[in-house]
Symmetry: C2
Subunit: 543 residues, 2 copies
């Protein structure tokens, strides 16, 4: 039996685009004599559709698309993810479903049982849980179909009481097909393989795993679809971050082998961010980016990634020096643009800054230079970038990193502006690693941008270390607090200094208002700022 | 039996503040010989705690607070909402619970059954559903305790399969206590009374309904706690938008009567927004606001509401005219400030705008005046407001209305800036109604601001109607699409012109990226922008 997993890049709500892509792959699979072709979870509408699922019109379009695709399945069996209506009159109005298309029609609709409702997942907001299991016979084989999270409980996940894989085994499944929408984090490929291996240990059934690829705003799907044999070994796997039709044949209950993928943490993050940028532009119908270049490492890394995503002629650098900018900043930024062969311009903010000061003088009188003046400079730059964006149809890429975003070391509407935050889930220490990785074959990011002490250059001789703990320490506390949900007592037990713990947690919690208004952040960790982290603004906890 | 509902304004995560307030009310209730004192849902930590619930430290603090409060209950029975741990090893780690405190200790923990997971509610993200029901005997009466949504199914709500009120009746409940965190919308008081009446129709049991009051960022709690007799009549009700200890006595199975509340839609919205502003400032520890005054109706209404919330000396108006500002705009804004006795200053943006243009000239060359230049003006104003905010510790109040926010008729980081959006859930047509309401006793908002055709004044002779359908039509389409989830076919069936429908839906869907970065919006309708409406940005649906 020949099975294929179509790891494709869909576009949320773009029904014509998604339908055409699916039909093209079905036709090509028919020619390749595939018996069973599998598409990812909610492929029909793209993932995540979010509250569009509350519109009947949207759901009707999903169903109409699937019915028209069914007509293409005379010589092949196809599994496609899509919403289906809950006609029981009880519970949420939809099921998250797998449509099985055979002989030109919808043969069966399999419904998801385990509905993730944590982090970036809101499935119980839309979907009713199914408690019914079914096995489908295709070409004489019993196929069990599970939808993503359905395989994330093998009896040891406290969140769930059902274990779909065991139910499918009970029903005689010989192969389990798992259609997924599993967003990237740098640990996710290993996690998936581990959990699915645990399934095979319980069931001894081989698994076909089909994931989305491509970015949908903040969520990046790495693909990495695979065939896993009954011994838990992945024997063939699609590449990360590109579309693929992964084919294998089941012979004597085992899948034939091919390539398997892996990658270092930084390599995966690098590739994920590039796909994140690329798809954001492509799916919005834009092709050019503008980035403010400070000479520092964050804007340099963002610029390099954007050039790799969009091409050097499509990324425009703007150097916006003030009286507080050091010479090396301008030199470093120029060198970066030259290394990348990307255009840049210099627009000084000195006069803009000075007109603002002059106009504010009657209000500010002789009050000393302070945060207001620092932020003014950052905002003058934000306004210039947005003007260029508006004039030429470029999208501003934000250059803030996760450490800054966490502690609020940034100016709202200033350096925190932009359509997309590229590094907002990358800690400063990881930004350095990314810079080294980008430079692995040749100097792209000027060595000086990597080596010099980080500075916002908003007043004379300013250094990040004036306002923040050392990034090594800061990032450790942030990671334990944000990613690992550790509280103050647990952080103290880890041996971190109490003053540092209290200071950092206070900074994080008192800056929720800033993060509320930042651009969407490309998610590369298991806990990113944005839709997966929902915090009160007006609260007083650890403050 | 004397029962009291303590409708209080808690502060999320401020355990000392909440605990002290609860203890003060318990002591005062003891003096008043109250037998049973009821506090709202999750009162112990404030509502909504959101992802703080994922921190063990936060949950431990809730439990420790409740245990220390229990010591105060030697002469009274108390019901308080708080999270409790799920020790079953199955499901989410917490229950949304009601702690029953009697004789100085926790006598019982009642757990919520119906967990709302829609709109602004994410309860299934945190809580496991309870399927166990219990009745507590207090002073010889059987009390059934239900937590908010628990009473929102009387067998006819398709979302749920359980009907807690019937279970409690079965167990012999003579009174049902409902502890709630039911956020305001202008229909919510009627909805609550209607649903709870349906409960009494099924059970014939009187109800004590205790709600939060006060605003927590975007969610405003109106209070309006009440006693409802077994015939479904509300016989005594707390005022809206203020703290209250509502007391009644149950005699022969019926509660003694008192005042009952009601209010017109616009009056309720007016009062809600004032509380929303007031609590945002108070809970963040700020007391002064700064608002950009354009002479138009949106900034005028925002200014008037802010003055009513914070006091005239605490609201600072900034007039920022450009060469495109009409004289009447400045006059109208001045008159508004004078009517309200609030200070204002004039800071022209002409020179700032012209320096920007000059600095951008080498890039923009001879490209014609356009959106970039319009937005530049709005952003120059945003930068001035933020500078004043930073310098003096004032919070910028955003003045965008819901119609503008919906169609993207506003400038990111310009007029869309601020700490809080006051009118972001108020359609333009409703802003006019609010202005009339504010002026009901005397002219506060200059008549000219109400009468003149709305204009952004970013180019000569600009009118909103150049870019948008008439607000009457626009708001109707928006309301049906946003609040009522109507799709294009349904809107056509309502007789709305097809060109208008397509144009408006396209504008709404293509501006999700702007709304993603706007300040939190005070929620006054049943579907506001923000946490209750979750849309993809990079999507292509109805575009």
């Amino acid at each position: 039996m020949k099975i294929a997993a179509a790891q494709l890049n869909f576009h949320v709500g773009n029904f014509e685009f998604n339908r055409k892509k699916i039909i093209d792959y079905i036709r090509s699979a028919v020619q390749k004599k595939i018996d069973l072709l599998v598409f990812p979870e909610l492929a029909i509408c793209g993932y995540p559709p979010r509250d569009f699922l509350e519109f009947n019109d949207f759901v009707e379009k999903c169903i109409a698309s699937i019915e028209s695709i069914a007509l293409e399945t005379k010589d092949i069996a196809v599994v496609i993810g899509g919403p289906s209506k809950n006609n029981t009159g009880k519970g949420k109005s939809l099921f998250n479903s797998a449509y099985v298309l055979v002989n030109g029609r919808v043969k069966e609709i399999i419904k998801k049982t385990l509905l993730p409702t944590y982090d970036v997942f809101d499935e119980y907001r839309y979907f009713e849980q199914s408690r019914v299991f079914n096995v489908i016979e295709i070409k004489g084989k019993n196929i069990g179909i599970a939808i993503c999270e359905d395989l994330w409980n093998v009896g040891n996940n406290p969140l769930y009481t059902q274990t779909p894989a065991l139910e499918l085994k009970e029903l005689g499944a010989e192969i389990i097909v798992n259609i997924s929408a599993s967003p990237f984090s740098y640990l996710q490929d290993s996690n998936r393989k581990e959990v699915l291996k645990e399934n095979t240990e319980k069931t001894n059934i081989p698994i076909v795993y089909c994931n989305h690829v491509g970015a949908q705003t903040e969520l990046i799907f790495d693909g990495g679809s695979f065939f896993m044999n009954s011994d838990g070994k992945v024997v063939k796997q699609s590449p990360f971050f590109s579309e693929d039709l992964l084919i294998s044949e089941l012979i004597n209950g085992q899948f034939l082998k091919g390539n398997v993928q892996s990658g270092s943490k930084i390599q995966l993050i690098h590739d994920a961010l590039i796909m994140g940028i690329k798809d954001y532009f492509k799916k919005l119908g834009f092709n050019k980016a503008v980035i403010g270049l400070s000479g520092g490492i964050d804007s340099a890394v963002t610029f390099a990634l954007a050039v790799r995503a969009l091409g050097n002629n499509n990324v425009f650098g703007v150097l916006m020096p003030s009286q507080y900018s050091s010479n090396h900043s301008i030199d470093d930024a120029k060198k970066l643009s030259e290394n990348l062969g990307a255009p840049y311009k210099i627009v000084s903010i000195e006069e803009i800054y000075s007109v603002y000061n002059e106009k504010l003088k009657p209000l500010f009188k002789d009050l000393p230079f302070g945060l207001a003046e620092e932020n003014l400079q950052a905002r003058a730059r934000g306004v210039l970038l947005m003007a260029i964006s508006n004039k030429f149809g470029y999208i501003v890429l934000n250059t803030s990193n996760k450490s800054e975003a966490a502690v609020g070391y940034g100016t709202l509407y200033g350096d925190m502006c932009g359509g997309l935050s590229v590094l907002g889930d990358v800690y400063k220490t990881e930004v350095f690693e990314l810079a080294r990785y980008i430079n692995k074959d040749a100097e792209v990011i000027p060595e000086n941008s990597i080596l010099k002490p980080p500075s916002a250059e908003l007043r004379p001789d300013q250094k990040d270390s004036d306002s923040l703990p050392d990034y090594d320490v800061l990032d450790k506390v942030l990671f334990e607090y944000i990613e690992n949900r550790k509280g103050p007592k647990e952080l103290l037990k880890m041996g971190i200094d109490e003053t540092v713990v209290n200071r950092v947690l206070r900074m994080v919690n008192s800056n929720e208002y800033k993060r509320y208004q930042t651009p969407p952040v490309l998610r590369i960790s298991h806990k990113a700022f944005g839709m997966g982290r929902r915090m009160p603004i007006v609260a007083k906890y650890l403050l």
